[in-house]
Amino acid sequence: MPAPATPRELLIVAIARLLDGCRHVAVGASSPIPASAAMLLRAQKEQQDEVVRISVLGSQEHNFFTNGGVELFDCAAQGRIDAFFLGGGQIDGQGNINLVGGGGDYPQTKVRWPGSFGSSYLAFLVPRVILFREEHSPRVFVEQVDFVSAPGTSPPEVYRPGGPVALLTGLGLFSFDRQAGRFTLRSVHPGHTVEEIVAATGFKFDIPEIVPTTPGPDAATLALLRGRVREEVSECYGEFAAAWRAEVPEVVTAM
């Protein structure tokens, strides 16, 4: 029996599930978990003779662009990117994200984060934007962000083929309803509870009567993860792959 899935492996598997059906997934710089998920999806689909393309920004190996940094954004506008990941120093219940700063009056905020990067654009154009933040706390998940880097929803007259579809945290998985502009809790990660999530979340969200536990990987998936995927990830994210190997050293042979 292999070691059970670690929390990070669970996140990778949960994201891979959200990516099902995507042909081209783009991953930002310094995003090892989303990158691992995309690589898992690619490995899984290859077994069904389907091709998944992955662009990892900042990677030499997984960079299929030849037109400079703007190509990712052009590609998104052309409808050639199916999924992208966004995080935030703050995320609120309407799906707004804040990558700029909080507390006090902008621009002299108490906390300053790097800046909006491409979020103010990609959140509009990529069909499947997955919000991902491991830290699940009331300081991250607030009622209303202090600065909108990218809005969760837009009025109907605004051109917006894309937007957030889900929020994954270290505690659970939410879906996002773009019409209603609200999150619904879809599953709770093993070892956590709905109550814990409610307490750690600064915004209101919908809770169905039954909230299942986030399913972990089956044995075949786990084998792929700790074999080929971890190998591929190490090309882009050496330290991440090394830490992962330290946590669960064994490689399981796929059935």
Binding site: F65, V70, L99, G118, F124
Partner: protein, 273 residues
Amino acid sequence: MTRTVALDDLVRRIKPGAKVAVAPDYAGPPMATIRELIRQGTGDLHVVCVPSAGMVVDVLLGTGQVRTLETAAITLGEAGGAPRFQAALKQGSIRIMDATCPAIHAGLLAAQKGVPFVPLRGIIGTDVLANRPDWKVIQNPFADAEDPIVLIPAILPDIAIFHAPVADRFGNVQIGRRRELASMAYAAKSTLVTVERITDENLLHSELSAAAVLPSLYVDAVAVVPEGAKPYGMWSGEYDVDPAEVAQYARVARTEDGFRDYLARFLGATVPA
């Protein structure tokens, strides 16, 4: 006409008050040029990050030589937040023009095309837009239904700076697929490039090597500065980023004193000839 000059002569072409476009960490950040800019004390700069920056701009911010900062982000990556950027904003000592990556590319594109603006999707409803009175929203003239769209005005840098692996004797510069470097140069009045080395081969001579070249037409001066991007790496493989150095900077520059100490060492550092 491109001139090959010494680094200090190259940097003297940047005048106080200039609008300076700076290459990002992944495309030859002009660390040597920034170091010399700090030495010369050229101030009152309007820095445009294409479209983001790290230590290159954070160090410059720490010296107080930046009046205005136009960027999609300033970050030290894995090493964490950019300390002098954060301090400058907290003190209100700079004017910040928060942008989003494609908007900076769009502004440079407008300059490249010689048009006053280009339209860009997205952005509507963000506080980025709310804080950019220089951006405009119009009704798309081609749409029958309501269809607001943002117009980004041209960004017209006086100077573009980056570090590249190779230039030839004619001033043609190898940029590989880092085409943001070409965009910066097209948009700027003047482009100043540091390189690892000069080659005798004409880089435009072969059709295939030409594809990787920014022609000398856009390059005003070249200075040879080996390791001119360090502690960042060069995409062309000469050297990798030194994460320990960036992390050390991130740590010590949190305080004004720590930054001053670092800066003294940074400015004192001599570059291998």
